[in-house]
């Protein structure tokens, strides 16, 4: 590895790991006390699980994706990261489905003692964070840490997470990170970024450090300096992926499109298909909504407050004393889409969509967020044309 004497080069130094080097990475992180989470093939899907060795990565497996369709397929090569987003995302670890927030005990005289939950410090290493998901983590950071109030439990889990991004070289048919500006090359935020290269010269991973800890971990692995051929092959693989996106968003300002589409007719059409099941919100790597559950034990004097994922598709989500605000499926789909692509900008300064395509894949009736955005765009164009046509 080039040492600190070559700091004139602003691009971080790169090295090459082979498959043994990748396993050494997993072992090095485990030796540092980290729980390594990464993709593995189980139950007919590529899922995220604790990895004890890099051998558990889904070498040789790819995925076949479409609206409401997910199949794991054997590849002709031995690629480890030639699959796009699976059913889970990193929020399953950073913002777990159910978290105890505090407990309260009531004394016989009515006095209340409230104890904030102290979460044991999590120390994760996420191996295989796709560029879209790297952005998704940054977006959730903004929601949960960027405001006046900070979610301390999230902060602790987030601080303890070491991120190994893997650039995308095999996009799925439902991917559209290029139109969301989130991939297929890795943006900032990683500790280490890898690009998988598989050609006649062999199977290897171009690696760069994004942080001091990343550099330290890389320095301890069996590796060699990055050669020009590997660098070129890696760059070409990512560039080629950018040209093979299965989907795209309309080339307009989606924030404005959503704000001007609140009364669009398209909502009725999509509502006739949407089951309001909330799958898209569970699979989405940025959806953050939660509800609270208050429970007591049998004595009635010990109470707990839990937070739990909730979906804006639940009728109760918009509960008010007079009844739910969003009673129709139409209004609930509209809430989800206009928030994701539009009002997220107003609330948190970015889009809430990263183009991972999970909502398309895991929708039981194959509703496609890109198709809906295109339809709203077409309807807007038609409205404008009609408006201009009438004196």
């Amino acid at each position: 590895m080039p040492s600190a004497t070559t700091t004139r080069d602003p691009a971080p130094p790169a090295c090459v790991l082979d498959r043994q080097g990748l396993d050494a990475l997993v072992q090095a992180l485990r030796a540092r006390g980290r729980t390594v989470i990464g993709p593995t093939h189980r139950g007919g899907a590529i899922v995220l699980e604790e990895l004890r060795s890099a051998a558990e990565l889904p070498y040789g497996w790819g995925v076949e994706l479409d609206g409401g369709h997910y199949r794991v397929v054997r590849r002709e090569d031995e690629a480890a990261f030639a699959h796009s987003a699976g059913p889970q995302s990193w929020k399953n670890y950073l913002l777990p489905e159910r978290v105890r927030q505090w407990t309260a005990d009531r004394a016989p005289d009515g006095e209340l003692t409230v104890r904030q939950e102290r979460h044991p410090p999590a120390s994760y290493a996420f191996l295989g964070v796709r560029p879209c998901d790297l952005r998704a983590i940054a977006i959730q950071d903004r929601v949960l840490l960027g405001g006046w109030h900070r979610d301390d439990a999230y902060q602790a889990r987030r601080n303890g997470a070491f991120l190994i991004a893997v650039e995308c070289t095999e996009p799925g048919a439902t991917c559209f990170c290029v139109s969301m500006g989130t991939g297929p090359a890795a943006g900032p935020g990683y500790d280490i970024a890898l690009t998988e290269v598989l050609d006649e010269t062999g199977h290897r991973f171009l690696a760069r450090a994004g942080t001091a800890e990343g550099a330290e971990v890389l320095a301890g692995l069996p590796q060699r300096d990055a050669d020009a051929a590997t660098r070129t092959a890696a760059a070409e693989a990512v560039e080629s992926a950018a040209g093979r996106m299965g989907r795209s968003m309309p080339p307009v300002d989606l924030h404005t499109l959503m704000a001007s589409s609140l009364e669009a007719e398209r909502w009725d059409e999509v509502a006739s298909r949407c089951l309001t099941c909330g799958n898209c919100t569970m699979a989405c790597p940025t959806c953050f909504c939660t509800t609270t559950e208050d429970i007591t034990d049998l004595t009635g004097d010990h109470a707990e407050r839990w937070s739990r994922w909730e979906s804006c598709y639940d009728l109760d989500f918009s509960h008010l004393p007079g009844g739910p605000v969003r009673q129709s499926g139409r209004s609930r789909y509209r809430q989800w889409l206009t928030h994701k692509l539009g009002t997220w900008w107003d609330q948190f300064g970015s889009s809430g969509c990263v183009g991972c395509g999970r909502c398309i894949v895991w929708c039981p009736v194959a509703i496609d967020i890109t198709e809906e955005a295109h339809a709203l765009h077409q309807e807007q164009l038609a409205r404008r044309a009609a408006g201009e046509g009438t004196p």
């Binding site: 927030q101 505090w102 309260a104 409230v114 405001g147 909504c289």
Partner: protein, 268 residues
């Protein structure tokens, strides 16, 4: 900051109307930071849950007054509180009434039903420093005479104009019957130099704000307090969205210039 609730002890409770109760709280130990008129607290009924409730009074020594209508499990549990009981309180949350905006202006305080509760500390703040403002008008609407909050107190406020109207009068009601907007003809204000503070059912807020716009009050000088079902009150749970607004953070008090177009979309 996702701090857990802080214990507050109930000093006293007083039935306000058939379905509304007012209670005063004092910190059982540590006190929360001071609340401003228009802000809200999350009140925790032990083992039942939390509800967002505006402050109806800001008392000495970090005390709080709340007026709660029984509409759900939590508010019914809050109704069962007796003096000496302990509740959990989180806050202060949200935007308050922007009184500095109204400096020198005539003030219109327009309340519908329980909407008078978050406006009460605003009226008290103005009455405590009247020299900073023009004429203070308080316009109150309720379903019936029996649903009027703070009846005795209302009569004691020394105001250029204080009007009360009800939807349905009972026997012996000498006052007015009709919409709260009908009281505007008696109120004393110069529309171009007026700040309005409105809280009540959304339909009443819209009707009042429209009438004020029509009379020449500037939309950014019409402040309204909106209701959504806050769960976390810290901007993290997503429940209180109204289009681009997270009402626990950007509200509950919002300028009508920002809210008008959002209130015209059904089921937003």
């Amino acid at each position: 900051m996702t701090d857990p609730p802080v214990p507050y002890r109930v000093l006293d409770t007083r039935p306000e109307t058939a379905d509304t109760v007012t209670f005063r709280l004092a910190p059982a130990g540590r006190a929360l930071p001071p609340f401003a008129p228009g802000q809200f607290a999350m009140l925790y009924a032990f083992g039942v849950g939390e509800a967002p409730v505006s402050v109806a009074g800001i008392l000495p020594d970090s005390g709080l007054m709340h007026t709660v209508r029984a509409v759900g499990a939590v508010s019914r549990a809050l109704h069962r509180l007796r003096s000496g009981d302990v509740v959990g309180v989180r806050g202060p949350f949200g935007t308050g009434w922007d009184l500095p905006l109204a400096a020198g202006d005539d003030l219109l305080v327009v309340a519908g039903g329980i909407g008078l509760a978050p406006l009460r500390p605003l009226v008290q703040a103005v009455l405590a420093a009247p020299q900073g403002y023009g004429r203070l008008n308080v316009l109150v609407g309720a379903r019936s005479p029996d649903d009027l909050l703070y009846r005795e107190e209302l009569g004691g406020w020394a105001l250029p104009y204080c009007g009360v109207t009800v939807d349905r009068a009972g026997a012996g009601w000498p006052g007015r019957v009709g919409l709260v907007t009908a009281l505007l003809d008696q109120a004393r204000f110069s529309p171009a130099e007026t700040t309005a503070f409105i809280c009540g059912p959304e339909v009443m807020i819209r009707a009042t704000a429209r009438e004020l716009l029509h009379r020449g009050v500037l939309p950014q000088r019409i402040l309204i307090s909106l209701e959504r079902n806050m769960h976390c009150a810290t901007g993290h749970c997503g429940h209180c969205q109204l289009g681009p607004l997270l009402l626990c953070r950007d509200g509950p008090v919002v300028g009508y210039d920002r809210a008008e177009h959002l209130l015209t979309v059904r089921e937003l």
